[in-house]
């Protein structure tokens, strides 16, 4: 399994909570796409001989791409990489940026999965978050996706807004479910450093929810999604059977991926049996374009993974998603005996189940996922 990721670093307006790299100067799209072409061409040889199973356009707001612009990116990608005909190709879409026609054209370019950033169906909450759309527009967007023929539609939601009640979250969640998505990502609002939200918090304009309130909302989410027939296959991801995100699953199963655009991350094995590398591009459009104009890769961070790091990643990624194969882990890295004892205790406490050597967290376990991961890691 191998994947490609393209980061489109533009938004009409930045949301208060978002710490992904994105700027509002959409007029620089052309400049960016020139650089992106160069980057794709430069990285191309790395993916030589590999066929790619998933492609993900994230951001920012990828749906700001005009169909012609997306066509240009797709052409570059296809000329540099072998993308399978049945590859999962996802495009993050924001309500308020697309028309039926645009979605149809995206589809004709190969996009077969839309991840729609809705976040909330509460007008006050949408305003607070800094979204550019209202609830009606969000609902309409899901309808347009279906009308345009997308058979795999995901919606992103955010809960645990300051002071949010279970009732308020319940309304957003059920409105979303009523639209019949194939996949739901429900994230808890995190106050990240250097965001407008963080500044609001330090100015005491808002106060983040206490852990207890977050816990109640999360439990509620898990219960509702389970009743609605969704599989809870990662901390914040729920899918109807057969609709798990292949791309995200690749991240979580240690598959290789190549990322393009400012701030994009990559994970790739060096040659045959070589060491595993993680690297990330500079999180700044100017430097990104500058490097590529000089014909240099805009890499800001690069780490050669140690055995312990790989082992730890395997543990926490597995725990966050669909389980850790302890037997395989033990074979590959060797696992201290007390970790197996811990696994046993987790099963006994109802925080996990053991399924043919794979330790998988239950709803109760997901609540404590980071705690468990920190204990399991070596």
């Amino acid at each position: 399994m191998s994947s490609l990721y393209v980061h489109i670093p533009f938004c009409q307006r930045k949301c208060v909570y978002c710490d992904f790299y994105s700027i509002e100067t959409v007029s620089l799209m052309g400049t960016f796409l020139d650089a992106l072409d160069t980057e794709i061409a430069l990285v191309g040889p790395v993916g030589e001989g590999v066929s790619f199973d998933t492609l993900f356009f994230g951001g920012g707001t990828p749906s700001l791409l005009a169909p012609s612009e997306l066509e240009r990116v797709m052409r570059s990608l296809r000329s540099a990489f072998a993308i399978r005909g049945d590859a999962e190709i996802t495009l993050e879409t924001n309500p308020g940026t697309v028309s039926l026609e645009k979605l149809r054209q995206y589809r004709s370019l190969g996009v077969n999965r839309l991840s729609i950033g809705i976040q909330s169906f509460d007008e006050n909450e949408l305003r607070f978050l800094g979204r550019i759309h209202d609830a009606a527009e969000a609902s309409r967007c899901v309808g347009l996706a279906r009308e345009a023929g997308y058979g795999n539609v995901s919606v992103d939601l955010i809960y645990s807004l300051p002071g949010q009640t279970v009732g308020e979250w319940e309304r957003t969640l059920s409105t979303a479910l009523a639209l019949g998505p194939d996949h739901v990502s429900a994230y808890s609002l995190i106050v990240e450093d250097d965001t407008p939200l963080a500044r609001m918090v330090s100015a005491k304009l808002v106060s983040p929810n206490p852990v207890e309130a977050e816990a109640v909302l999360y439990e509620h989410t898990m219960a509702v999604m389970e009743r609605a027939g969704f599989e809870h296959y990662e901390v914040s991801s729920y899918a109807r059977p057969g609709f798990r995100s292949l791309h995200n699953s690749a991240y979580w199963s240690h598959a290789g991926y190549l990322g393009f655009g400012p701030s994009a991350h990559s994970f790739w094995a060096q040659g045959n049996g070589g060491s595993q590398l993680r690297w990330a591009n500079v999180p700044a459009l100017s430097r990104y374009c500058g490097s590529l104009r000089k014909g240099e890769l805009p890499v800001a961070m690069r780490e050669e993974m140690t055995c312990a790091q790989l082992c730890n990643e395997r543990i926490f990624l597995g725990l966050r998603s669909s389980g850790v194969d302890l037997r395989r882990l033990g074979d590959e890295f060797g696992l201290p005996a007390d970790r197996l004892a811990l696994a046993g205790a987790l099963v006994e406490d109802g925080a996990a189940v053991m399924d043919r050597g794979t330790l998988r967290l239950t709803a109760r376990g997901y609540m404590l996922c980071d705690e468990i991961a920190a204990r399991m890691m070596v």
């Binding site: 808890s188 914040s236 991240y251 991350h265 994970f267 993680r278 961070m301 925080a351 404590l368 705690e371």
Partner: protein, 599 residues
């Protein structure tokens, strides 16, 4: 020998002992003012300068041209002021014929002034009373004169008024040393007897022994012997102590100096022992030798279990300089491998802990200090218990005895009520009160040592606005209704929290400890029951509810490194915790029981 004077300075902390010593060194030309980088020359350890107390004693020789036209050799032997080191004090006093008693003109006589003075009087020393800091506006010279008069029965005109800072009275002190203190007696021709009053360890030369030659003459090349160990050595180097060691080749009766004899183990050169000739040994040792016994015990553990070997070598090195420190390895289920250390007292314990951290860069956890208990089993045999976890089970204990001390507290009269309440809370048995003057009382209590080794001093200070001064002296062992109190986390006993307490206080103490631990132990993945128990009887209980949520339900995209680093940080935090059963206990919890105050 008629031109030698051996003396010391005794004083309560901060009454100016060190500044007076400095002035004497300057006045006699032993050191120039320019050389005086620090204002307190005798205290050369960092720690001593900060605490203003001399921990390890030293000696220094000065030459003084007196007003009578003769030149005198003055040996100033420095003494540690604190009760923890009272044996060392008594040995250095035994090396002197006189003592300068320094009293602060504003503070007056304090507890340590008195305890050290009594030691000096017991040793038969000539006392030269000095009131220091007379130039301060807060000085109450007449009142302090009165206190000193009452204490030693001297005349007013025998008391020297001085200010070491302003260089007042220094000549008078030197003249009094020459004029009032007797020259040493002792026949240089008799068999050698020299008193060891201190030793330091030199990495290249081995033990450097500080001695007062009482009889006979010690020469380089002599075959010598330490009386109590019986071990013979060759005197490699003999000399006097000026600002540096000054090799003289011999030391005759009456003089003070050093001896280097290739001794690699400080335990062979014990304070109080007698150096004699191996060929012509003296008939008897000098009087007063005793083994110093530790009074306070505490577990010392490395913060990180991997650092155990480091800690072992640090303690071993420290002990080379401090023969009164005893230690042996022990294990704790909660803290892993460490050492049970025995200290002379609380200050000694603090000093050792600080030196381990500062000089030897160790990160340590120390357990709650305890005293040594004498436990009689039902079978009749007696065991000494210096670690609560080695206390025999409840059913096997017939009687427990604990050390008592005579506590002396000097305090302004308005705080007498507070002090008495504090002492009663600490199981003190009232003895008497005397008044140094109408404003200050000297209160005596018999108290269990265990009650004063734990935050008593801080309490004493806070309840008297810092005015109370305090000293103690070991009395005897007395039977008490003592029990071992255990702390259990989810049913498992955490040995590092066990302590031996009086039965009447067990419930209260257990409750406090449980509440404290509830606040300090973070939520775990499961509920944690904290219990305090005597044997199988639970006397207090608290619980920590299970952790509700610890997960960031965030979209990380492909940035796995970031999440990994966050978790690795959490993991590091966990590594610093100690685990008992499945319960993770932060280090602060072990430290917090050392400062258990009513909250």
């Amino acid at each position: 020998m008629n031109a030698i004077r051996n003396f010391c300075i005794i004083a309560h902390i901060d009454h100016g002992k060190s500044t007076i010593a400095d002035r004497l060194l300057e006045r006699t030309g032993t050191i120039t003012p320019r050389e005086m980088k620090f204002n307190q020359v005798l205290d050369d350890m960092d720690l001593e300068q900060e605490r203003g107390i001399t921990i390890k004693l030293h000696a220094i020789q000065m030459h003084y041209a007196a007003k009578d036209g003769s030149s005198y050799t003055l040996n100033l032997i420095d003494t540690p002021g604190h009760v923890d080191f009272s044996y060392e004090v008594s040995r250095s006093l035994a090396a002197c014929e006189g003592a300068i008693l320094v009293v602060d003109a504003s503070q007056g006589v304090e507890a340590q002034t008195i305890s050290n003075l009594y030691l000096a009087i017991d040793a038969g020393l000539e006392i030269i009373p000095v009131i220091n800091k007379i130039d301060l506006p807060s000085a109450t010279i007449d009142a302090v004169k009165g206190q000193i008069r009452d204490l030693i029965g001297c005349r007013d005109d025998e008391i020297i008024l001085a200010s070491a800072k302003a260089n007042i009275g220094i000549d008078e002190i030197l003249e009094a040393v020459v004029g009032r203190i007797a020259s040493p007696a002792g026949d240089p021709a008799r068999p050698l007897r020299a008193l060891i009053f201190d030793s330091v360890f030199d990495a290249y030369r081995g033990s450097v022994v500080y001695i007062r030659v009482v009889e006979g003459t010690l020469r380089e090349g002599d075959r010598i012997m330490f009386f109590h160990t019986g071990k013979p050595f060759d005197a490699e180097e003999v000399g006097v102590l000026e600002m540096k060691r000054l090799r003289t080749g011999e030391l005759a009766a009456g003089n003070v100096g050093y001896l280097i004899a290739g001794v690699r183990d400080v335990h062979d050169t014990k304070v109080g022992d007698t150096v004699t000739s191996a060929a012509h040994p003296a008939e008897s040792a000098l009087p007063g030798y005793k083994e110093v016994k530790p009074m306070v015990f505490s577990g010392v553990y490395p913060t990180n279990a991997e650092d155990f070997e480091d800690l072992r070598s640090a303690i071993a090195k420290l002990q080379l300089n401090d023969s009164s420190l005893v230690y042996q390895p022990e294990t704790s289920t909660a803290l892993g491998f460490g050492f049970r250390c025995g200290f002379l007292g609380l200050l000694h314990m603090e000093i050792v802990q600080e030196r381990l951290e500062r000089e030897y860069n160790q990160n340590i956890i120390n357990t709650v200090p305890n005293v040594e208990y004498r436990v009689t089993r039902t079978g009749g045999d007696v065991v000494l218990v210096d670690n609560p976890s080695t206390m025999p089970p409840l059913g096997e204990v017939a009687m427990v005895e604990e050390p008592y001390v005579k506590a002396q507290i000097i305090v302004p009269v308005e705080y007498v009520g507070n002090i008495m309440k504090l002492c009663m809370d600490r199981r003190g048995v009232y003895r008497n009160t005397t008044y140094l003057d109408p404003t200050r009382a000297d209160i005596a209590y018999d108290m269990p040592l265990s009650e004063i080794i734990f935050d008593f001093y801080d309490k004493l200070k806070s309840t008297s606005r810092g005015y109370a001064s305090f000293d103690y002296d070991l009395l005897d062992f007395r039977e008490s209704d003592l029990v071992k109190l255990d702390i259990l986390l989810n049913g498992e006993s955490v040995d590092a929290f066990s302590c031996i307490v009086h039965r009447d206080k067990a419930h209260d103490w257990g409750k406090k400890l449980c509440v404290k631990l509830r606040k300090l132990i973070p939520r775990q993945m499961f509920e944690v029951a904290i219990q305090a128990a005597i044997g199988s009887k639970v006397v207090a209980r608290e619980s920590i509810s299970a952790m509700r949520k610890n997960v960031l339900a965030k979209c990380y995209g492909g940035d796995i490194s970031r999440k990994r680093k966050l978790l690795e940080k959490q993991k590091e935090g966990k590594k610093r915790m100690k685990q008992v059963g499945r319960v993770e206990i932060p280090q602060e919890a072990f430290l917090a029981v050392l400062s258990m105050e009513d909250e």
